[in-house]
């Protein structure tokens, strides 16, 4: 039995321990070369307890004093929220491919070699380029144990690669960033990792004046976040429970273009948060959210699910949308991997179909605007003007505004035929929509 759980016996009605041991090895290159290597060995626990129907919560990294963790959790339970939560003990089907225990973990030198190769590949294309790279090996060992009999553990490893390239020329500065998430060294392909950045730098060679008005826009897979972030919030079981989501009480309704399909897939090994179970020990699953334009589901953690009178979808994660889980936050309803179904047009075809419009690869101020209502309003970070089906150059100082619910219902031009990973969280094709408000200065 987990020693912390042992200590809660006879003191609480139910208890649940999340124990994370994390090893991280990041190597960081700035434009001048290798700048720092770090090793991180961190370990923390989170303890949830139920005492007479009230919830208590405490976290700690001071593992030499387990009694303090139990005391703190019990103390908070005296005033905690009243709930009839039951910690799970459901059979867990193991995912394969999260960690290779036979393989020697990559050394700092191997990670340095990857970073150097990425820098070299990008610099080979042109002058005036400043390239920063980070390559980070991470191994998590997670153990979840509760008083209802669950005691499960899993090791998950990943390599995160972040790239930022900046080109300064004649009074203009253009930065492109990209990030990749792979499971092992064998999945690293320098050509693939640098492809998107090279393409954007090529497209952005000339700055042109931006079109204005109500225009068609092609969002590249990474650009789709502007459009999908409000939607992810609206599909969150918590927003629905709080009636903040415009999708509340609309399950089964055809609210979107019939070509739109959305699934949350916690078992997609390529996804950054993939695991056999979520951070509450609930088995992960595939949850259909939008099926041929019909609203088909929401995603839930245990507590929200219990309040809503439904079952957890295995989406209880201790961390936000972007970035790795931490032991500190209490679990909340969070997307695992959002998979948007591909369409039948290539990105090039989507561009060719537009007489005057924009291609948007990234925006500034993601998360600004009234997300609950589905509104987005962003300045573009990397966007390109399309004229007569061709990309003619990069545009600056352009505001985009629209409402994701309206655009994805009435204005969908098409979906690209190739889905790409974005931040290890989103697997998505290009999305083209009409009538986005574009304001150029």
């Amino acid at each position: 039995m987990h020693p912390l759980l042992e200590r809660t016996r006879d003191r609480v009605d139910q208890a649940d321990v999340y124990h994370l041991q994390r090893k991280v090895l990041p190597v960081v290159f700035d434009p001048e070369g290798l700048s720092v290597i770090k090793t991180k060995q961190t370990e923390g626990v989170a303890l949830r307890v139920l005492c007479e129907g009230r919830l208590g919560y405490s976290t700690s990294t001071d593992l030499a004093r387990p009694e303090a963790v139990v005391e703190a959790a019990v103390a908070t339970a005296a005033y905690g929220d009243v709930t009839d939560l039951t910690f799970p003990d459901t059979a867990i089907e193991r995912l394969v491919g999260l960690h290779d225990s036979q393989a020697t973990p990559p050394s700092a030198e191997q990670l340095v070699a990857i970073g150097a190769a990425i820098q070299k590949r990008l610099l080979a294309d042109g002058s005036n380029l400043e390239v920063g790279v980070s390559v980070e090996m991470m191994t998590d060992h997670i153990r979840i144990a509760n008083s209802n009999g669950l005691d499960t553990e899993e090791t998950r490893s990943s390599i995160e690669i972040g790239i930022e390239a900046t080109r300064a020329q004649s009074g203009d500065i253009f930065t492109v960033a990209d990030s990749h998430h792979v499971r092992a060294l064998g999945d690293v392909c320098i050509e693939d990792l640098t492809q998107r950045i090279r393409r954007l730098l090529e497209w952005g060679r000339d700055v042109v004046s931006a079109p204005s008005g109500s225009l068609p826009v092609v969002f590249t897979p990474s650009g789709t976040l502007a459009l999908l972030l409000p939607l992810m919030m609206g599909l969150n079981g918590k927003s629905v429970l709080l009636k903040l989501s415009p999708l509340t009480e609309k399950l089964g309704q055809g609210l979107f273009d019939s070509r739109l399909n959305l699934v949350d897939d916690g078992r997609c090994v390529r996804g950054a948060s993939a695991g056999s179970f979520d951070d509450e020990g609930v088995p992960t699953q595939t949850t259909s959210l939008i099926d041929e334009g019909q609203l088909s589901g929401f995603y839930y953690d245990l507590r929200t699910a219990q309040q809503a009178g439904v079952a957890s979808t295995g989406n209880g994660y201790k961390g936000g949308l972007i970035g790795a889980s931490s032991f500190r936050p209490s679990p909340s309803s969070t997307i695992s991997s959002l998979v948007v179904g591909a369409g039948d047009a290539s990105e090039a075809e989507l561009i060719r179909g537009i007489k005057k419009g924009l291609l948007v690869d990234g925006v500034l101020g993601l998360g600004q605007g009234n997300l609950n209502a589905g509104d987005f309003s962003n300045n573009v970070a990397a966007a390109f003007a399309i004229e007569n089906g061709r990309i003619v150059g990069r545009v600056k100082n352009v505001m985009l505004a629209g409402n994701c619910y309206e655009l994805l219902r009435d204005q969908l031009i098409g979906l690209g035929d190739t889905a790409e990973w974005v931040y290890g969280k989103l697997l998505c094709p290009a999305i083209a929509v009409d009538h986005v408000n574009v304001a150029a200065k």
Binding site: K40, G80, S377, N437
Partner: protein, 458 residues
């Protein structure tokens, strides 16, 4: 602890070694709608070692503080790998060594306040918001207190212990018209102070609720170019996000073109414009008696009479640029190394009253507070929390969807009036940079007026 740390440093084979050990206590109460969503109590113990070998950095982060010597060895090894390839070896600017202990005294120390009282206070604000109108559909009322004790030592002989208190209260309301439109209202306070700062916020709770409801009837702002009055909070966020980050010297190394623009003496705004980053402002969240390299706090003038006067430095950036360290090397926690960060950053008062500033605006926008902002080089984008039309010199109707964007340098040059009513404001979150979030800072400014700001809208 002192003996263990000193011995570990003495055994190091690195050219420079520093250790930072942090203990932290945190309590958090969060109400959402009628539910107590989170009630937690956390403790942290952890450390970080940073070593320089042959001009390269190696860093080791850990929770198990019983093996410091081992972590120094590990960090030294990593530093040697970096040092081998480093084209420009790292040099640290000289600073005086310090031995000091900085303890804080709080008027109403939150560590002595029973958890029950913290829950009850938060609940009382939550209830006020819920009761204000039947249009209120949700709340986000959060109390957080945090107390850190940081021990810092380096191989040059500096040894410091300092305490940093932090307390915040957020009062958030969401209102719905029942037809799918949802609007927010928010008030908050954040201080490096005692429990007294989060008491007596009843009026602010009601204001947050009333604003969320009023926003339901606000008309969308017409997109285009507007004359804009920024309130002290939004102006403060603007100067921090859009300009302050450019003054961080480590940022300039990565961007040679920006380094040219950010040359000392260059003109950035009208002669009335003064911008300061201060290491101490009584009771404010950005206070750091010593930074995380053991450098004593100072007041740094970033813009003097409209011209760039100084940058913000760590020991490393100061050595590179031949400047003095300014006490701005800060780490968000023991999990990170110090990088160049702001503290209390503000625009100093100018000569003009708010009434004089607004009276000759025929048509414009009065934008208040920020819901967030982002910058990428000179492009910035900020959402005002709420805003009003200005018509013939007077505040008019509430408007919504006010997102300001533009080119930083053009926008700063378009500041044409600086008020005399400066307010320093600590938010409830903090500043983020290089994966380090949230670092407690404050922003401040008087009202300012800017011509020709692009506002996105429908």
């Amino acid at each position: 602890m002192r003996q263990t740390i000193k011995q570990a440093i003495a055994g190091s084979t690195a050219d420079y070694t520093e250790i930072r050990i942090e203990r932290r206590w945190l309590n958090r109460v969060l109400f959402q709608r009628e539910k107590l969503e989170t009630l937690e109590s956390a403790t942290e113990l952890g450390g970080v070692v940073r070593c320089l070998k042959n001009g390269g950095w190696g860093i080791s982060v850990f929770n198990d503080t019983s093996k410091i010597a081992e972590h120094i060895r590990e960090a030294t090894q990593m530093a040697a790998v970096v040092g081998e390839t480093a084209s420009q070896p790292v040099i640290l600017a000289d600073v005086p060594t310090v031995q000091d202990e900085v303890r804080v005294e709080l008027e109403h120390d939150f560590r002595n306040v029973p958890l029950r009282e913290k829950v009850d206070l938060t609940l009382s604000y939550n209830t006020l918001i819920m009761k204000e109108s039947d249009k209120i559909v949700s709340t986000q009322v959060q109390y957080v207190d945090r107390f850190s004790e940081i021990t810092y030592a380096n191989s040059e002989g500096t040894y410091l212990v300092q305490e940093l208190p932090d307390i915040t209260m957020m009062l958030g309301a969401a209102a719905s018209d029942g037809k799918g439109d949802i609007q927010q209202g928010m008030e908050y306070v954040g201080k490096a102070g005692g429990f007294e700062w989060v008491q007596g916020m009843e009026d602010q709770a009601r204001m947050a609720a009333q604003r969320a409801v009023a926003m339901l009837n606000a008309k969308p702002v017409p997109g285009g170019q507007h004359t804009v009055l920024l309130d002290p909070r939004l102006a403060g966020v603007f100067i921090h996000e859009a300009f302050g980050h450019f003054c961080e010297a480590d940022f300039l190394f990565k961007n040679p073109r920006l380094a040219e623009i950010m040359a000392l003496g260059n003109e950035f705004g009208p002669p009335e414009l003064q911008v300061i980053d201060a290491g101490f402002f009584a009771g404010e969240r950005g206070n750091v008696p010593y930074d995380d390299e053991g450098v004593k706090r100072a007041k740094t003038t970033l813009v003097k009479n409209g011209h760039l006067h100084s940058l913000l430095h760590s020991r490393e950036t100061a050595a590179k640029m031949g400047a003095q360290p300014t006490g701005n090397a800060r780490a968000v926690s023991y999990e990170h190394e110090p990088i160049v960060r702001m503290r209390n950053t503000y625009i100093e008062n100018g000569p003009i009253s708010f009434d004089d500033m607004i009276k000759d605006v025929e048509r414009g926008i009065y934008a208040l507070d920020a819901y967030g902002g982002q910058t990428e080089f000179e492009q910035f984008s900020f959402s005002a929390a709420y805003a009003y039309e200005i018509v013939n010199g007077e505040i008019g109707d509430l408007v919504r969807n006010v997102v300001l964007s533009g080119n930083l340098f053009e926008t700063m040059r378009s500041i044409d009036a600086i008020g005399n009513d400066r307010v320093i404001s600590g938010g409830v979150g903090g500043c983020g940079k290089g994966g380090q979030f949230p670092l407690p800072v404050t922003v401040g400014a008087p009202h300012i007026r800017i011509r020709n700001v692009t506002i996105g809208g429908k």
